[in-house]
Symmetry: C2
Subunit: 734 residues, 2 copies
Amino acid sequence: MLPRPLLSLLLTATLVSAQSAAPALAGFNATTAAKEFDLEKQFDGTLSRQNLDRWLKDFSSRPHHIGSPGGKIVAEKIAALLKSWGYETEIETFYPLFSTPKTRLLEMTSPERFTARLVEPPVEGDATSTQTDGLPVYNAYSTDGDVTGQLVYVNYGVPADYERLERMGIDVKGKIVIARYFGSWRGIKPKVAAEHGAIGCLIYSDPKEDGYYVGDTYPKGGFRSPFSAQRGSVLDMPVYPGDPLTPGVGATKEAKRLERKEAQTITRIPVLPISYGDAEPLLRALGGPVAPAEWRGALPITYHIGPGTATVHLKLEFDWKLTPAYDVIARMKGAERPGEWIVRGNHHDGWVFGATDPLSGTVEMLEEARGIAELTKQGWRPKRSIVFCAWDGEEPALLGSTEWAEQHASELQQHAAVYINTDSTGRGFVDIGGSHSLELFAGQAARDVQDPTYKVSALERVQAAEYARTGTKPGEFTIDPLGSGSDFTPFLQHLGIATLNFGFGGEEDYGVYHSNYDSYDHHVKFEDPDLQYALTTAQLGGRMVLRLANADVLPLRFENLSKTVAGYAKEVTKLTDEEREKTANYAALAASGALRLAADSRKTSIPAPVKPPVPFINFAPLQNALAKLQTSVDAWSKADTSSLDSARAMALDAILIKAEQSLLDERGLPSRPWFKHMLYAPGLYTGYGVKTLPGIREAIEQRNWPEAEIQIGRVANALGALAAEVDKATAATH
Amino acid sequence: MLPRPLLSLLLTATLVSAQSAAPALAGFNATTAAKEFDLEKQFDGTLSRQNLDRWLKDFSSRPHHIGSPGGKIVAEKIAALLKSWGYETEIETFYPLFSTPKTRLLEMTSPERFTARLVEPPVEGDATSTQTDGLPVYNAYSTDGDVTGQLVYVNYGVPADYERLERMGIDVKGKIVIARYFGSWRGIKPKVAAEHGAIGCLIYSDPKEDGYYVGDTYPKGGFRSPFSAQRGSVLDMPVYPGDPLTPGVGATKEAKRLERKEAQTITRIPVLPISYGDAEPLLRALGGPVAPAEWRGALPITYHIGPGTATVHLKLEFDWKLTPAYDVIARMKGAERPGEWIVRGNHHDGWVFGATDPLSGTVEMLEEARGIAELTKQGWRPKRSIVFCAWDGEEPALLGSTEWAEQHASELQQHAAVYINTDSTGRGFVDIGGSHSLELFAGQAARDVQDPTYKVSALERVQAAEYARTGTKPGEFTIDPLGSGSDFTPFLQHLGIATLNFGFGGEEDYGVYHSNYDSYDHHVKFEDPDLQYALTTAQLGGRMVLRLANADVLPLRFENLSKTVAGYAKEVTKLTDEEREKTANYAALAASGALRLAADSRKTSIPAPVKPPVPFINFAPLQNALAKLQTSVDAWSKADTSSLDSARAMALDAILIKAEQSLLDERGLPSRPWFKHMLYAPGLYTGYGVKTLPGIREAIEQRNWPEAEIQIGRVANALGALAAEVDKATAATH
């Protein structure tokens, strides 16, 4: 679902890089580590690029979105393969609400007539692009609507853009807005537009970010061509993902459902994505002031904001249906600790052919499963249980993963030690995000696979890139905190299961995201030509699963977590201080009269309102909790886990499995109780982009100071609970 | 010559803002100041917008470049007016070399045939645009040439761009380059291209900086239309401006001249400016790698670098002629101190109709002259002599001003106290640059004229804008140091006469710079609709002239100068330290091997070479000289000049007139002896953009450390000489 090249744009940088001195392999001692390395060598020997290529070509040969005949075929093929390798395999089916378009009409009625084509034409050299039975360009979970209104350009359509519009005296009430992609996850755009009174929303791909400005367009190059558009979900997933009718519970046949109109996550206004080919006549027709420099894209026009004579008519009708989602679940029972599960997942549904997204990741995960199954033929058995999951319906709303996680919540919280996710993967650099309790583990895994181009470790290569980019030699490897955009969300942010999400990328020419052209032909030309990096992804993913399954003790460590969260605490403190200073400075500027004198008298320029002063906030509970946590972690760092007997190791594992869950608060985040993790969440107004310490940070951003103090208390409690778990873990080693 | 909106982009910010407590009017005491304020009120009363409008329309009604019939008419009309108001007026004629085009051919021969049109078509609503006898689009002082070669896009064509090309493995040797305007003064582009072995150079206006990206194009809006192009000089003026055949001496009929081929300032390769309409097919045809993000403009193409199949043929032939330049010189003799001259100038030649550039400034200067003459009818006479100058041939090479300054060098150094320059002026904010000995004076002048829109002082308004932009309340008014781009250069940088250059701007829609459309119609629609700001410019210019002419003592002060230069000294020290650190860091990065691993193996990526370490430089002579200067200035600050008798005041004036000249070094700057000022010069590789402490700064930038130390010594000597002058001035007050 999330385009990998965008991931780095959305993720906030982690502040902490130092790590404590690492054992050779977290969770293993010298003897068991040596055995593990041997096993991994065997594992690598089983992997085959031919499989990746064959499956990628086959699965992407027809549309395979949720509810499609092709989707069912892909799920069944995956299940058959896993079964054939010896996994206990089932297809678990859920019935979430899904919408497909019946009517899509966009026309400009003034100053001249123009009807958007809304069709992605066939392209030479792209074999599947001639098929016409895939989903057309639309936004899933847009409401139905038939609206006519003046058009207003709102840049990325995020809250700051509407503040800017206000200062130009422009109101979108009763109007249809056109926003460009980027700047936020797409679902934020219709949400914010509706909050400001707009009656309809268009989202287009500007060539500046996603077209000829970036590079040659398909099929000459890999970038977005004039009539290609980005499908995608606009469900308000930062409130809750999954079936809009069954929040918090599995969408089984018999589940109790909301009425559609009660569903909080469906948009309030109709919304349609369009190509830049379709957007250009509309934008060219806009009157009103010239857009600010940062708002301008790469179309050969003067960007205006409107409103004016440009009037558009948007009519959308959808088929709303409970649609079967086929999750493929394949289990391999652990030999010693079958009640501890290592869960590994990637979705299998695509918007159309979905070769890169998600199949590049789906097929490499399958190859991991095959490779691991091969090892059992030589007598090896995992210590812990392994569960491979191929999710359906990720694209519309993380449907398959969320419903499964909700349906099996209590057993997962009991048994699931770690969830490892992938989605699309491409050529370039390793990119890992997740729970900081797994940071050391993640770095060791990246250290032990080889970049196929340069034959150095993936870790060394990604750190070299950071060094070259920043000029500063990086310290220990760090991972990014996770927002949303793929199936890790329910596991991490709803259930509190320690999670990693990873892939390779950064050297693709990926301009076909969520389009008809995300095809096998495009993938092997512009993404990962010989699937070398997909193979490396399989080596890395397989290693993670094997290590987690085999470790003497689960490799969850708290040193990096404690340091990272201390960094986040500094950030939110600084954010408040900066906001205080900014508010005071702006009040002085506004009072000085300078704003009026600075303005061009011929242009409307309404000064931003002066906001109330920012009070001083009590961060002490957070600071005290962090100090306590650090004390607990220091003691834990000295504990020796290298020679525990099996019973004591299992007892320790049981504590470690629960550790991440201590970071949940059952009340959830303000206005979105489904999100319970106190450290990581997607931003309510960024969508995929992560907010760390989300309750505190968003309260500060919204200037809700009493709420900020409440949230400081909750985070402090969660960190206190974690410290108690760490103390228990330390005690279990004695 | 210099487009005012660009000025702020080129000027480096001054570091110093604090000023010493100011008297009400520098150079006056309380009694004489009161009289002066009364006189200025009278002066304001004489000014008329009708005159501005009438002259602007008349002078811009036909092409009036140097050597044209229209240019002669304009000079004669100006002379007649000045004479009619009572000035002793003469037209002083020089005979510099000037080139006009005979052949202009640009065609693409491969991959397809295309011939550039090189013509600016008539435009509805622009009365003069139908005339065809103006200079077409070309670059004056391009050499003749007939070349064919592969085309390479070099971004702005500055040295850093060629370094980037090298890292992509692209060589321009034997090729024709196409550079976009901006990023440097245009003359730098063919110079650097030739230094890298290119055989021809095209310069085009990208719509990103100068076209539809900025705003609506002419005639709908004021910005550059697809087939409008920027004429302009490419003479290597940072080496020496003025006639290329007579460096350092006036180009009189009998002057000794160089052969054309000996002239160091004429380009070595042919160069032609083109419109974005003509550039688009060429750029679209380029192959090779995709241009780096910062290199991309706003044309609807993927910017490539080349080389490849795109081959162009450029043929240019010029008519090289000694061409009469008509300088109008008008004098009003001082009543008390006729040997002290206040020189005020603006050019009168335009590239075509030149309504904004230069006539907006020319006509307001004329109105100043008329207003001052009016005052004499009421019995007032200036204490000092006033000289109004309307220069010819500024556009090709500051010809009229430079030749006049060279011809009259010794009398000017003897008599000229201050030179005040304007060029085009527009709507918006006051902008003043010049000698920091005039900073206090400049701020007081800006304080005493009213912004016509807001009825607050021009000073208050420009400071409000700075406050609104930066969020920090500005301190005392500061002026920018001057590079080049208008007629102040010979006075300040060759002769060491204290100089100011000023105008209003920032609210124009100025997209017709050096085009056929710089017309009366454009000016009154998009520049300064009712000429309100031109009138304000006349109020400000007139005030400056009157104050300088009437002051008890010349208002040259050294407090701000000393602080400002101390700031520059800190900058060059920091620059060296930063370069040292950067060099060391890059050497470590290069040695680490990270650069190789960070690169995409499919793209050519040649690491920049490691440079030798940066030694520590002896800045002590500079620091000691600054300390001495500050001591002298402190004593000077305490001196009382408010009640000197006339003889002693004249004696003090004589010292002050020479003060700025103590900042000259007769050897001039390295490789360009014509430029003698040790504090200010146009950059050898920026063109118009100023370099402060140019000898030191450019030696550091070129990593010529021994030269840097030599230049430190020379600046220290100059500052020592200035300190001695300041001491003399102080002594003269006792």
